[in-house]
């Protein structure tokens, strides 16, 4: 009898202790009072646990070229999705990270619709950056042999990408599935008393508490991404980075705050830090700082600020607090570069933000990323030129400059293969936009109209087609997407360390997919350099600073700027080189901007009144996309001086290089389909490159964030 009583008591104690533990934890999670923080020490941080993913490879006997101290331009793409991304898999993509790296090295791989995707010229570096969120999970849902696929939420995905299911017809259904993934359907947590909730808390790994999550599958997908990157990394020839996308957004407005994270090592954490851990980018930076303390260096790179509803480059923090110097330093420590251009539009500036810039209306994508129905994205706060200006204003009000970043481009392809060529374009999302009818550049055939209606219903879009002279077109929104872009690093050699270092010191530029290369220097004695000397570049490095760096005031002298641009050897000739200046006035911090043409093609000279080159007369034929021959330049080189320079004014300068006009992909598509191009789309565009800025600093006391690149010393002053 007595024994029984004891047993009863014990049995009673177990649930009570369990409940008490849970109660304590909930206090600790929702109530930050220090009384309970003792309990926090029992937590381990799974996202900071490191794994060495390096691959055993035979020692290469290959001769590697000596590092070039004048640096080479390496072209790459650091924004590539494969089948491990929850959405790419839904789009019919079966390309693995290995396929993606093979593509970058010049091999052809297959598009989900069956045609070959192949680069005209291989790339120098590449990083597969699948969505960290639910990485590898959708593939596991689709594979009916896994345990997790037997759940209800996994049913819609079953056998999704079997070859027989890879059809254009399935686009509508796929889109609907995609929306449901984004929705809450699969994000249901286990009930609060479930042991996995406890485990999630103790290892700071929220996703463990989700019903639809399988940690083993997730970890193995991530391990495969890391293995593949290490496998394909070939110092001297081809560089890869372990990477992933931190796919966060603002809560109610759905403002896109996506960032790609890349690692400068073959060691990486056991799992990526994702939006399930936190939606707040500041927490991402805290995690990156934590990794850096452990010797793992990373950078994160924001993209599609154009679709952020003005929230990527806000004047306040994620939680609505004031930006301060600590915030600015933390952001700049972790986010030295921003992706200015990619398939979902270009984020340099917007016609509403830069009404005096004739080239501002370029590949504008004015919807919030992933919004259903497609919803307008407010321009202000979403474009890099304005962010540079706002950064100066924030600095003026003594809050630090969180927007002192360099520029890169990348593709954001979801097929493993970046689409950079207007004349050979497959867009981004596999089956959804892999054909010209689906992306709205060729009229819909009879049978396709009904499909498009279903598809648009899934997209929650009220108007599914638009009518023009040539017929009825899909109103998919894909017409605002484009064949862009590339990241270019000025690095001593093609190795992970060297290219990563270039990213950190912002010695980078972005292109819209073309292989334009551009040098940019500023200094006080650059005019003395002989522009026809072979030592031109080494002298420029000696006497000045290059893109991404700060130029400090030197006895109020006016600086010289040296620009040298070379055309893409397979692309159109160059039309002009421009310098874009932004500054704030020293009374109120009011921002201003101005676009100066610095060098013109065909020996033409800049009109000093308008700061514009005369028209060089380059034309494009809309019937066959041929361009004028013998017009434009193979290279443009000049020393430029700011006609309105004031040594007391804080400013930045960046270069924009423009090619002669060529056909846009939508025009190529229309011609291939035997139609006239749609009259509401730009028929031509000017491919371009943007350098990272050089910031002019009037006084040393103005530097609130120490630049990572070189600076010119102030001398004795």
């Amino acid at each position: 009898m007595k024994y029984n009583k004891l047993l009863k008591r014990i049995l009673l104690i177990i649930p009570v202790v369990y409940l008490l533990t849970l109660a304590l934890i909930y206090f600790d999670v929702y109530d930050k009072r220090p009384v309970l923080s003792l309990f926090k020490k029992t937590q381990s941080d799974s996202a900071l646990q490191l794994v060495d993913f390096s691959v055993d490879k035979p020692i290469s006997t290959k001769i590697i070229a000596a590092p070039n101290k004048d640096r080479n331009a390496y072209f790459g793409d650091v924004h590539v999705h494969t089948k491990y991304s929850f959405d790419a898999y839904v789009f019919g993509v079966t390309a693995s990270p290995d396929d993606a790296y093979n593509y970058a090295k010049g091999k052809g791989i297959q598009h989900p619709l069956g045609y070959e995707m192949k680069l005209q010229e291989p790339l120098d570096f590449y990083s597969v950056t699948d969505h960290g969120f639910y990485m590898g999970m959708i593939q596991a849902y689709a594979d009916t042999t896994t345990d997790i696929s037997k759940n209800d939420f996994a049913k819609p995905f079953h056998n999704l990408n079997r070859p027989e299911n890879l059809t254009v017809d399935s686009a509508g259904e796929r889109s609907a599935i995609f929306s449901s993934v984004l929705g809450q359907a699969i994000l249901n947590p286990q009930p609060w008393w479930h042991p996995s909730v406890l485990k999630a808390w103790f290892t700071r790994n929220t996703q463990l508490a989700l019903k639809s999550f399988d940690y083993t599958v997730h970890k193995s997908a991530w391990a495969d991404v890391a293995r593949s990157a290490n496998e394909h990394n070939d110092p001297g020839t081809f560089t890869t980075f372990i990477g992933y996308e931190f796919t966060t957004s603002t809560d109610t407005e759905g403002g896109n705050l996506h960032r790609n994270v890349i690692f400068n090592s073959s060691i990486a954490p056991i799992r990526p830090w994702t939006r399930i851990d936190s939606l707040n980018p500041e927490d991402l930076w805290t995690w990156q700082d934590g990794l850096r303390d452990k010797g793992i260096d990373t950078i994160s790179m924001p993209h599609n600020s154009n679709g952020s509803n003005g929230q990527m480059f806000e004047m306040e923090t994620f939680k609505g607090g004031a930006i301060n110097k600590a915030y600015a330093e933390k952001r700049m420590r972790n986010e030295p570069v921003v992706e200015i251009t990619q398939v979902k539009g270009t984020s340099e500036t917007h016609p509403l933000l830069s009404p005096d810039d004739e080239w501002a209306d370029f590949e504008i994508m004015d919807k919030r990323v992933g919004s259903r129905p497609p919803t307008y994205s407010r321009p202000s706060g979403g474009y890099v030129r304005e962010a540079y200006l706002n950064g100066l204003t924030l600095e003026f009000s003594n809050q630090g400059n969180p927007y002192k970043f360099g520029l890169i481009g990348s593709s954001d392809t979801h097929t493993g293969a970046g689409s950079y060529d207007e004349s050979n374009y497959w867009s981004k999302v596999g089956l959804l936009d892999g054909s010209s009818e689906n992306r709205g550049s060729a009229p819909l055939s009879e049978g396709n109209k009904e499909r498009m209606d279903n598809y648009m219903k899934a997209f929650n879009q009220p108007v599914s087609t638009v009518k023009f002279d040539e017929g009825e077109y899909a109103n998919t929104g894909f017409t605002q997407w484009g064949a862009s872009g590339l990241a270019v690093a000025w690095a001593e050699e093609n190795t992970r360390d060297s290219i990563f270092a270039a990213f950190k010191r912002k010695e980078t530029f972005a292109t819209t997919g073309t292989r334009i290369a551009v040098r940019f220097f500023a200094g006080y004695d650059l005019a003395s350099i002989d522009l026809s000397s072979d030592a031109l570049i080494s002298q420029a490095y000696d006497k000045g600073v290059t893109m991404g760096a700060d130029l400090l005031n030197d006895n109020n002298q006016a600086p010289d700027f040296l620009v040298w641009a070379q055309k893409d050897k397979n692309g159109a000739p160059l039309q002009r080189v421009q310098i874009i200046k932004g500054w704030i006035d020293s009374n109120s911090g009011t921002p201003h901007e101005k676009v100066y043409d610095a060098a013109c093609s065909d020996g033409l000279s800049v009109d000093p009144l308008t700061n514009r080159c005369p028209d060089n007369g380059a034309k494009v034929s809309i019937t066959d996309c041929s361009i004028s021959q013998g017009v434009g330049s193979s290279e443009l080189k000049t020393i430029w001086n700011d006609p309105e320079f004031d040594p007391s004014i804080k400013s930045f300068y960046y270069v924009r290089v423009l090619e002669n006009p060529t056909c846009r992909w939508s025009t190529w598509d229309a011609i291939k389909a035997g139609h006239k191009p749609r009259e509401d789309l730009h028929e031509t565009l000017q491919e371009r490159a943007w350098s990272s800025p050089i910031w002019y600093i009037p006084a040393i006391s103005d530097i609130t964030v120490m630049p990572l690149g070189g600076t010119i010393s102030l001398g004795d002053s």
Partner: protein
């Protein structure tokens, strides 16, 4: 008594024969459900729900199974499987997997050597060139200037006025692919026949004209198999898998006669 049983037996036999006669295909309407099939369904149910199914639930599982089988058979009877691309592809895929998976053996050393020898070009290390050049930009009359400069060089005149090239003056250990990447395909063809330590040109690139001086050329070579063994093995396994399927197809292709309308016109 025994006779009565015999009568019944005869009647039974009679009915049986008539039945066979009238419903000769009746046998195909039997549905056999094996114990294994049921237990595997039940265990799948268990792993999903976390408990054993009740009797009711078991009978529902079995009913579903039966109904699925019936619908499947009726569909077959109606010929719904015919000319269905999805079913065709699925079956084709199944048999390809089957043929691929029958090969799981690790390739032997002899296989590897054989494969390496047969595919040597895949592992070829490209020749490299160390060279410098005078560049004449297309921006300023490069054709004439480069011709004049070349004449000067022939006359041992060292005072050559050339332009700086964007990627520099000297290139070391550049492969043909790298040269083609930096100067364009056309220009790289000039390295097919190499004369060392002599000014050559002028040669056209996408950017202007060049007079080149090759200091060193390292011949291309086939690396010893030991250096590329890992890659050879991966390639061989992939090759064998593809081979297995195509061999299989080729083997049975001869048994088929393909008939295609030779006069078919495609709609443009």
């Amino acid at each position: 008594m025994k006779f009565k049983i015999f009568i019944f037996f005869l009647i039974g036999l009679f009915i049986y024969i008539i039945d066979i006669g009238f419903n000769s295909d009746q046998n195909s309407k039997d549905i056999f459900i094996s114990d294994q099939e049921i237990t595997s369904l039940i265990s799948a149910w268990k792993s999903q729900v976390g408990r054993s199914p009740t009797d009711d639930e078991i009978s529902r599982i079995i009913t579903n199974l039966i109904e699925e089988e019936i619908l499947y058979r009726e569909a077959l009877l109606l010929g719904l499987d015919k000319e269905d691309r999805i079913i065709k592809r699925r079956l084709a895929q199944k048999i390809s997997f089957l043929k691929q998976e029958s090969l799981v053996d690790k390739p032997s050393n002899n296989d590897l050597i054989g494969f390496y020898n047969a595919n040597k070009d895949k592992y070829y290390i490209q020749p490299t060139f160390t060279f410098k050049h005078y560049f004449f930009s297309a921006e300023s009359n490069s054709g004439e200037r480069s011709q004049a400069a070349y004449k000067k060089i022939l006359n041992n005149d060292q005072d050559i006025k050339s332009d700086p090239f964007f990627l520099g003056k000297s290139f070391s250990e550049s492969s043909l692919d790298e040269i083609s990447g930096n100067f364009g395909r056309q220009f790289s063809l000039n390295f097919n026949e190499v004369i060392l330590n002599k000014w050559l040109g002028p040669f056209k690139s996408s950017f202007g004209d060049h007079i080149i001086f090759i200091m060193d050329a390292r011949a291309g070579y086939y690396p010893p198999i030991a250096q590329v063994l890992g890659k050879v093995e991966v390639d061989l396994v992939a090759y064998e898998k593809e081979e297995a399927v195509s061999n299989y197809i080729n083997k049975i292709k001869s048994e088929y006669k393909v008939i295609i309308n030779p006069n078919l016109k495609f709609d443009e």
